[in-house]
Structures are given as structure tokens and as C-alpha cells.
Symmetry: C2
Subunit: 348 residues, 2 copies
Amino acid sequence: MLGRGWVRLFCRAVRSQRSCRLACGLVCVLAAGMPLLQAGEPLASWHDGASKEAILSFVSAVTQEGSETFVPVQERLAVFDNDGTLWPECPLPFELAFTLDEVRRLAAEDPDLAAEPLVQAAIEGDLKRLVAGEQHAGLVKVLTLTHAGMTSDEFARRVEAWLAKARHPRFGVPYEQLTYRPMQEVLALLREKQFKVAIVSGGGVDFMRQFAERVYGVEPEWVLGSSADVAFEIRDGRPEFFKKPSGFFVNDKVGKSVRIYQQLGRRPIACFGNSDGDQSMMEYTTIGNHYRSLGVLVRHTDETREYDYDKQPLVSGRLVSALEAASEHGWTVVDMQDDWKTFFGPQP
Amino acid sequence: MLGRGWVRLFCRAVRSQRSCRLACGLVCVLAAGMPLLQAGEPLASWHDGASKEAILSFVSAVTQEGSETFVPVQERLAVFDNDGTLWPECPLPFELAFTLDEVRRLAAEDPDLAAEPLVQAAIEGDLKRLVAGEQHAGLVKVLTLTHAGMTSDEFARRVEAWLAKARHPRFGVPYEQLTYRPMQEVLALLREKQFKVAIVSGGGVDFMRQFAERVYGVEPEWVLGSSADVAFEIRDGRPEFFKKPSGFFVNDKVGKSVRIYQQLGRRPIACFGNSDGDQSMMEYTTIGNHYRSLGVLVRHTDETREYDYDKQPLVSGRLVSALEAASEHGWTVVDMQDDWKTFFGPQP
């Protein structure tokens, strides 16, 4: 059962990889090379246009005291998908890159493990083989190897070590440097306007909490993600949580709405996503909300500066139904190529 | 399966009821009758003594900039049990009183339902019969009747209606008026010192979120409790969550530590509880914490003003092992009779 949860999540990742075209140049506009932004100018990395205007006018409308659309501070909850919305998900979702690198690291220390055929497939990055078969035994194997069977502290150390060392295969920089500057500006704007900002991601919550505060300024309490059971024990005078390969909750699609309800207990008024996996929380946020609400879908349309996998998805389901629903529900569709002056950069 | 979770929770409730002696007078020192407290005086409803001093010195130590024991604002997380810690749990935990009243209400509208023997037992308040048998079929029955099979909005309306109408059998006032004033003062003090304050209760999270903000000033995001599955659907243009009788998580004992880890992702530095069900989160908070931490157990020792069910518990397990562990771990043990000038009152 648990395997199935993980598999659903990572099969989506594999599909997304197939549809990500590893295109063109190394135009990597990172923080160091960015033009200095005028202090205080909101959404400075956004070109003027309908997308920027939609975000600014929403924020203005719900925060202006006395206006009919004013929303009390405590009700200002905004939710953000992570992979593909706040940072890239190509050529692999970053957590899947971590997973494969971890298998390689573990296999290097253990010849018996390395000799196992499915582990070999992971070492070679043969995703097709990992997801083969009804039960996707390879994926279950590598996820169990890398995400369970250790304490949460040990897992955290492994994630930190990987983040410090790993480099993105195309951009050649640490993964943490690849957050979208335009989205960081949205986070900053909302925070300035006293919004609560939550990340609601299909990624594992234990993985994301290692960097979300440092990278996005989002504290652990506001990071919602996929999860599995943990067992709590006091060992050698230390409270520890043991990560178990059971009780998996896939924080994707309808699961995102459910988790927002269960964990935050409050309906968002703004939602940012980039795929059909975000459609449910977009609907929860916007449909019939008695507050003015905002739904934003970001489309990956820029082969030169990032990736273009929305226009011609090789596998259906990437961003299809959510895009169709956008006009019906009045969601803002961001075209990364047209709307963003720059791609990557840290928190303002 | 689901039933078993609920049953564990409510059997504890039933045991607690048996051990609560419905004693003595109607000395009901409510807000109206309280002496005016000097503005700004922290913990004004606490007698001077070791308990008050322990709380004040902890708060001072972790919030004084430059001190060795200073704790950064974001790490100041305090967790509170609810039933028996922030308000009474006698003669019944309030949610169980709601449950029985709801069965009575539903049965009054449905003669067929009323005729069922287990429903009859609930109507008569015959808890022994409800928990009889290995499977505790009666309790499962009434909990399923009252906590599942409706939307979250409908459940919220029922809780609100009950809170507005129901009166505590001994004190004769709405349940919401029975929060402990001394504990409200602790909440206020911690909030003033920029603590994050979370309620971590065995009670149902959907039940508690109806009043936690109004009564304690604790927003829904910071209420952690027992829960069950919900299904998300858009019906008639409305997003709705349907409460299901499955996937029960019992937020008690080790479950409290697990839920704090899973949901908040941060270790508390202060924990307030009153029973063995809180022992795990007390341990998680205090054992080997590299920050200075505070564990507080409140003991129900005042038959005259509230209840006395700790000294002579009729059923073991109430407050036994946590009390034994208190001296080992340096937890503060509050004696309600000796430490509290007054019992009940709202947020300062």
C-alpha cells in the first residue's frame, strides 16, 4: 500500500522528466548576475502585463482597509505548490535527483546492495526500469532505501549534505539557487501584506523542511507535503522519530485540499500552482469563496532560460485540465517567457 | 479499525468520568465574580510560589536577549493539552457531552433510531453499556452518528449550536465559560513574549477549531487534535469536505509527539498537560532539549472549586506515570488548589 502512494507521486515525476526537454543554452541568470532591483518596487522581476496586474490588484483589493473586498489579516492564507511553481522540476524533480544520488552513495558503501538489479537501474538513472511492472518495484525499493529506516535527524543530515554538494545538471549550481526570483517576490509581497504563506507540495515534507525556511522564508509549520509514518522513541536520552515505510499520504491532487483542511483548518484566498496536481487546491481556493480570491497557474514556456514542457506535453495530465479550467474559474495564467524578466534568484 | 481509534480515546474519557467525583458546592468563581486584575501583572491569578516562579523564570530566561538561555523567536513553541489543562474534563470531557446530546437530538427526530438499544443507552447516558464488549459497539455507534456522515460545515454548525445552548451540569454555565483563568494568563504571557502557542489535544480537531480562536485566541492552524478522513468534493458550486468514519488518528500519548513532529515540524520548548496522555509530548519537549525547556503538569486537587481526581484515581493510568516522571525530568507540578487564586475566566 505504502509503495503505491510513493509510486503515484514519483511516476508523475518520471512522466514530467520525459516531457521536459533538455534544451538549448546555459543562460543561467542567477542572483549574482541580476540587475539591481529598486528597493520596494513590488514584483520587479515581472514584466508589466495582465499577470503582474492581476496579482497586484488582488493584493491591493484584499488588504485595503475599508474596501468592500478587504480580508482580515488572519484570513489571508496563500498556498504555493513547490516543484515547478517555486523552483524547477526538470530534468527531474529535485527530490528524485536526491533519491537517485542517495542510492548511488549507499551502493558505493555496500557492494551487495550495488549488485541488486533494481539498485543498478537507479545507479544508472534508468527510470523506465524503476517504474516497470504493476508494482513499480524499483521505485518502491529506492524510496524505501532512501526515505525510511533512519531517524528524522539522520535523514535531515543526508538531505543537507546532498543540498550542499549536488549541482543541477543543466545550470551547474546548487539546487537551492534555482528558486524563481519572480515567485520569491510574490512571497515577499504577500508576507509584507501580512499573509500567511504555506507551501503545499507533492514533495516529502521532511525533505522540504530542510530548506524551506532558508530558501523561501517559510517556517516548518507552514510546509505541507507528502509524508509517511514515524515512530517516536526516547533512545539513549534522545527523543527520536524513526521514518517508516508505511502510512503514506500523497499530497497531490485532491490530497492537497484535504491536507490544507486537515492541517491548517482555513480556506486559502490565494493559490499558486503549475500542474493538474494543483487543480484541486486551486478549486478549493477560488470556487464560491466569499472572499475575493486569486488562482495563478504558471506555465513553463521558456526553453531558452528554463524549460518548455507545457505546450507539447509528451504525456497527458501535465497541465491540461487545470489549464482548461482556468478561464472558467478566472485563474491567472502566467507565461514564464512573456511575464518574467528573469528566472532565478533568492528572496528579495 | 476506525472504531478502535475512537474507542481508545473515549474509553479514557469514560474512565476519567468514573474517577471524577461530582462533589460538593456550587462555588463557581466565574469571570463576573473575579477580582479585577492589575493590568500587566503576569499570572495574576496564580498564588506566589514555586509553580508561578518556575513559569515566570523560564519565560524570562528564554526571552532575555543576550542571556545564555535565550531562544530565538521562531523556536519559541509552546504546546498545551486542552481537556483537563485549559478547561475541565469532568464530569465528562466536553466533546463527549456534545456527543451524547447530539444522539439525543437526532433520536428525538427519528423514532427508529431512538428505538435502537445502543442509542437508548446513549440517551440515558449509560456509558458503561456504551463501552461494553470487546468492540465497544455502542461508542462506535454514537461517534459515527455524530462525527461522520456530514459535511464539515454541517458539523461546525452542530457544534456551534450545542455550544450556544448546552450548560455544564455542575456549574450551570456555557462550557466556553469554563476555561481556566490561570492558564489563559499563561497563554497571554507566552503570546506577549512572541511564543507560538499550539493546542495539542486528544479531542477532535474539527470540534476544537470551532471555539479555540474565540475562547483561547488560538487560530485553527495551531490546533492539533484527533481526526478522521475527509473526502473533498465540489457540490453545487461549493467546495465541501465530507467527514468519514475511517482513517482515525488518535492524538493522545505518543500520537501527540508524532503529530507535533508531522504537523509543526519543530520541537516545543514548553509543554503543559495534566495526564499520562500528555507524558510523551512532555518528554519530547524536555528530554535532551538543547534549549532550556519547561514541562508543567497541572493536578486537579480542588474538590470545592473544581474537581479532585488525581489524589485517588479510581482507575489507574489517569495521572500516575507522568507524575512519577515529573521529578526525574524536572517538570513543574501545579497543585490547582494551592497554586490558583481563581479557576475560571476568559482571556485577559
